[in-house]
Symmetry: C2
Subunit: 330 residues, 2 copies
């Protein structure tokens, strides 16, 4: 077996976020589904952006946020994703490398510009995302290096990858390589509408290919098309080795064949922007696993990370998360 | 006399800020002068950016921040400045228009990309700026529409415009047009090192061409090459109609031939990032003047704006400044 080079290798859409605060009326006026991630084409993105107020740009992308968190917590991380060779692509590449993540994926020189996600943050701190995939559609199996996957303890994949066809192929290749090498595969279900778009395939993934599953309440009930959290939890139990199911302020439930843990949410003074909450939750959890911690401790680390990221604008942690966790967990 | 179309027309370098928190050791390691604005070329900008951590991008530029604040406060504002036709240029143009500022300047299609300012924010909330002027060097007299200047009650100019030669010519043309039309000219001295670079010319401006001067303590003492704030204040009195001199937590002093006001600083819970403090101070002051308020009230409005902008990251106001001022001043 090859040596482990990365604790976590993440594959995802490489996106720069544009965060703009707005009232709920803005969502209504523009027909946006609150809390969801909606795919938009270039024209719709232009039209929405023109209607939005002054923004703040920061690197985003679900799996990218997660590996950035993993690296910030001191583990070895790598990211695979596609930017264009443009200013936003440079910003994305700079930011993910600056936090210590290895990022080897060559930028696209033809085709669409770097992906942007226009995020409307309403006064209740909820984020509504409108993603123009741009260069992400250029990601394909050719970008997946099977040797790197084999050298990664956990390969972490975002469900959003099933939207661009080439990225889905990259996802499948990476998953196969990880399993062939005896490594773990982790999946985030990403978004309940994304689950809706790909339910049958996601069900197959969860039952047959995924070791560690991350999902929030909306996503897991959408996956199993059930009405209650408990019913969804009973369904997922035994489908994959570990399922970490998050429920916002109600905390999270972690289930395996033998174990069952209910972890309370970390207290937060004021929730400012929930962008990235699930991503940093996964980062804390995977870091805990890499450090050989118990499942309840992994859950606490995950919750501490999520609490930090929702207490400010933007999807990447600002505080010294490592020190924060050291302080609370030792 | 033509009708007034804008309360304030601002001319300045059109810049996108890249804000990155860092320890003081970073400044030492890279030879950066704390609190100052240093001009850097493309290579030095690349090198510094590579060494910096994960950033947040937001529209900046001194006069641009000021007119954005003026518009946010409900006055009619226009901006003249040069971006390149690229992603950062689009972000700049979007953000300044989104807040209600008219921005007609055509983007450059040749030459350097849109200007960036790499801003290191240290734990004491001080900002150290490294500006790559990029497309700003393309601004010239051809971008100044004398009819628009004549239709603006106040033309606001940043001292930084004296760094790129073409922009300096634009400055001089605009100032001449404003005076010919019987309008007011306002100037911000921008930065003590900028004052150092252009002292003789700035002295001439202040004595003969400027009606309203904004300067902080370092800038005004640098201008007159004196050791004390009081000495600088005595020197500037009578040189221009109104001088608004800011002293951070010590508040501000406003002097005219006949009046003299000492305005205390607004209380701030926690200073996070001082980027834009002077710019929003000027915005509040000019808005007060446009509304025909007394000088002490103008000073209060200015201070309330500055207090808001330093209580978060970034150089543009996040809170509803109009409501904030309404609340405090009526």
């Amino acid at each position: 077996m090859v040596d482990i080079r990365y604790d976590v290798l993440g594959i995802g859409n490489a996106i720069v976020d544009v965060l703009v605060p707005a009232e709920d009326a803005f969502l209504v006026e523009h027909g946006l589904v609150k809390g969801a991630m909606t795919l938009v084409d270039a024209d719709r993105a232009e039209q929405l952006y023109a209607a939005m107020g002054t923004g703040t740009e920061s690197s985003g992308g679900s799996a990218a946020n997660t590996v950035a968190g993993v690296a910030a917590l001191g583990c070895r991380a790598c990211f695979v994703g596609k930017v264009h060779d443009d200013q936003l692509g440079n910003i994305f590449a700079h930011d993910i490398r600056a936090v210590g993540v290895d990022f080897h994926s060559a930028p696209a020189t033809g085709g669409a510009p770097t992906a942007r996600c226009l995020i409307v943050v309403t006064p209740d701190a909820k984020r509504t995302m409108n993603t123009f995939l741009g260069a992400c559609v250029e990601l394909g199996p050719q970008d997946v290096d099977e040797d790197l996957i084999a050298a990664s303890a956990i390969t972490y994949l975002e469900g959003y990858l099933w939207d661009p066809p080439g990225a889905k192929e990259a996802f499948i290749k990476a998953m196969g390589a990880a399993r062939a090498a005896g490594r773990k595969v982790a999946l985030s279900l990403s978004d309940s509408f994304c689950v809706d778009r790909h339910r049958e395939e996601f069900l197959d993934l969860v039952q047959h290919h995924v070791d560690i599953l991350f999902a929030n309440e909306q996503e897991i009930t959408s996956l199993y098309q059930v009405d209650s959290f408990d019913a969804a939890m009973q369904s997922v139990r035994g489908h994959c080795e570990i399922a970490a199911l998050t429920r916002s302020e109600k905390g999270a439930v972690i289930v395996t064949d033998e174990e069952f843990h209910v972890i309370d949410a970390e207290p937060v003074d004021k929730v400012i922007d929930t962008t990235g909450a699930g991503d940093i939750y996964a980062a804390g959890f995977l870091t805990g696993m890499s450090q050989g911690r118990s499942l309840p401790e992994c859950g606490r680390m995950a919750g501490i990370g999520a609490a930090e990221v929702i207490s400010h604008m933007g999807a990447r942690t600002e505080a010294d998360l490592k020190a924060l966790i050291q302080d609370k967990l030792g």
